[in-house]
């Protein structure tokens, strides 16, 4: 009886351990498969072609720079929107809003996180793009900017929830001390609370950026998908093609194992590495902060 129990306990513990390791295994497997299918690109496509500024796969032009550029422009635009609004909303929720407002607004922000990207893309295509074309006097409404607007909106919930947590985690004693020496609440927010939450807020911004780079369907539906290497700020108001949209639009077509297939996996690999970079940096910021806080608290 006792042995049965021990055996059961052992099996369960094993299973839990495996589940615990699963995240590492999956990240490894994803990376392995991207490498496996993506690396042949470097043999099949000469490097000059790969870093050229012409993406036209059916004629074997595999320049990924316009796609990188498109992702970059749209992400910068999205960040410019998501950061001020995300942080502003987070500060408002954490420091200013009365409790009941907070109870209503927080779930609403989470609703935004749950809106399916294809629904936003659908509305963007039907409502937002024509609207922007008319009021900004653009040749077409399907531009990087339209993508940025929607992506910025989609990144906001990520920024808000992480930043709000960070601001919330600043010990109350900091604020009390600041208020006690005569600072206003406003001054306290800017000079004490936000600086104390700096690393958490940075993490929030980075995760928001990550969300924007990775978004696929919305961008594909509203940003026009023209593979033009962006030059200057005006590129924001021209059509752009992102790496994610390229994969989504073209993967269905290619024959398994063809050069084009490998290049698309290669782009997937680039995307994976970018998100890895962002997230590892973000998580180191988190860990550092946690250690510092522990030091402060002990």
């Amino acid at each position: 009886m006792d042995r049965d129990l021990n055996l059961g306990e052992m099996i369960i513990t094993r299973l839990i351990n495996i589940a615990g390791y699963s995240a590492i295994i999956f990240v490894g497997m994803i990376f392995y498969f991207l490498l496996r299918e993506g690396l042949p690109t470097l043999n099949e496509v000469n490097f000059g072609n790969l870093v050229s500024n012409r993406w036209y796969p059916i004629e074997a032009y595999f320049g990924i720079l316009p796609l990188l550029g498109g992702s970059l422009v749209i992400t910068i635009g999205a960040t410019l929107i998501a950061v001020p609004f995300g942080i502003g909303t987070a500060v408002y929720l954490a420091e200013i809003a009365p409790r009941w407002v907070r109870e209503i607004l927080k779930p609403l922000v989470e609703v935004l996180a749950g809106l399916p990207s294809v629904v936003l893309g659908f509305l963007g295509m039907l409502v937002l793009a024509p609207f922007l074309r008319k009021y900004l006097q653009l040749p077409t409404g399907l531009t990087a900017f339209t993508g940025s607007l929607l992506l910025g909106g989609m990144a906001i919930p990520t920024v808000v929830s992480v930043a709000e947590d960070a601001i919330d985690a600043v010990p109350k004693s900091y604020r009390d001390a600041s208020l006690a020496i005569g600072a206003t609440k406003w001054q306290t927010i800017w000079r004490v609370t936000l600086p104390a939450a700096k690393s958490g807020v940075t993490t929030a911004i980075m995760l928001g950026v990550g969300r924007a780079i990775g978004e696929t369907m919305t961008v594909m539906m509203v940003s026009g998908n023209a593979p033009v290497l962006p030059g200057g700020i005006r590129a924001l108001f021209k059509p752009a093609r992102t790496m994610t949209a390229t994969i989504a639009a073209e993967m269905g077509e290619v024959a398994t194992g063809s050069v084009h297939y490998h290049v698309l996996f290669f782009i997937g690999m680039v995307l994976f590495l970018i998100s890895l970079l962002i997230n590892i940096t973000a998580s180191f910021v988190v860990f550092r902060q946690r250690q510092r806080q522990e030091r402060i608290l002990s």
């Binding site: 351990n17 589940a19 922000v109 990775g214 996996f265 997937g268 590892i280």
Partner: protein, 288 residues
């Protein structure tokens, strides 16, 4: 005198600042409400019994979207079958078993990374591993597995948070009356953390139900006249169906597009609301 004026200026600045921040918050929230209301108004006229339970007709320009609803339901269910045990297991490991060392830190970094990987890259991975390498074909199985891995980080992190919130004293007492570690977890810790875990699970599945990019190459079908028979069949799914009818079918009545958007939105938002309710109930009734 000047000091008083300074104070007044400072408070004026504060008032203006608070105004600014609250209007930013409102500007963030309003579009969300507008989007939801707009879709409800535009989509409501399309909703009828036949629309929900009927099959697409006339090149999907008429009839209903039942196969897409069923498909999304199966996919969500399939995702749950794989991701819930694995996610909760991983959360238990992290909160109850994991030692404080570099390896555990690597697990945590991996989870953060999983959460950040673009959804279309999951699609590529699903295509590479499940559809081609393991030869599942474009199927519910391949799609569910892909979505499951994608939702894993959401489930793990919320479930872990819920488990950690259970006070240490509960565990100490249970162990001290002779229960084993697993018995303690199963009888004491898990039940206490259940609402929090449930919230995480639902939020994870909500994301799976609404995603299009990961199912593009792993499961989604443009049009299937009948419901799928086995996990190895392809299926229609709501998000992909909306993508298809809003971009690929000519002469599509706009009513059906908005109707489909509304059904998808309802599906996803009701999960969201359930999760929110469970969480706030749990918070309210917490006795520790």
């Amino acid at each position: 005198m000047t000091d008083q004026k300074g104070t007044r200026v400072r408070y004026l600045k504060q008032r203006l600042g608070f105004r600014l921040l609250s209007s930013m918050a409102i500007l963030t929230i309003l579009p969300i409400i507008a989007v939801v209301i707009y879709i409800v108004i535009q989509g409501a006229p399309a909703i009828s019994r036949e629309f929900i339970t009927g099959f697409p007709e006339d090149g999907m320009r008429a009839g209903g979207i039942w196969p897409a609803i069923v498909g999304t339901f199966y996919l969500t269910l399939g995702t749950a079958i794989f991701s819930v045990p694995l996610g909760i297991g991983a959360a238990i490991y992290l909160s109850e078993y994991a030692p404080q060392n570099r390896f555990t830190q690597m697990i945590r970094i991996s989870i953060i990374n999983l959460a950040g990987i673009p959804s279309v890259v999951y699609g590529l991975f699903g295509l590479g591993l499940f559809v081609l390498f393991l030869n599942f074909g474009t199927s519910i199985l391949a799609g569910s597995l892909t979505l499951a891995i994608m939702t894993l980080p959401v489930i793990i992190s919320t479930a872990e948070e819920a488990l950690r919130a259970v006070p240490q004293a509960f565990r100490t007492v249970s162990i001290s009356v002779g229960a084993t570690k697993w018995q303690t977890i199963r009888r004491i810790v898990l039940p206490e953390a259940l609402p929090g875990i449930l919230t995480g699970v639902i939020l994870g599945l909500e994301r799976a139900a609404g995603e299009t990019a990961p199912i593009l190459f792993t499961v989604a079908a443009f049009f299937l006249p009948r419901l799928p028979n086995s996990p190895l069949d392809a299926t229609m799914a709501l998000p992909y169906h909306l993508f298809v009818i809003s971009t690929q079918v000519p002469g599509m009545p706009i009513k059906i597009q908005y109707g489909t958007a509304l059904v998808l939105l309802t599906f996803v938002l009701s999960m969201n609301i359930i999760a929110t309710v469970i969480r706030s109930r749990a918070r309210a009734s917490r006795q520790w």
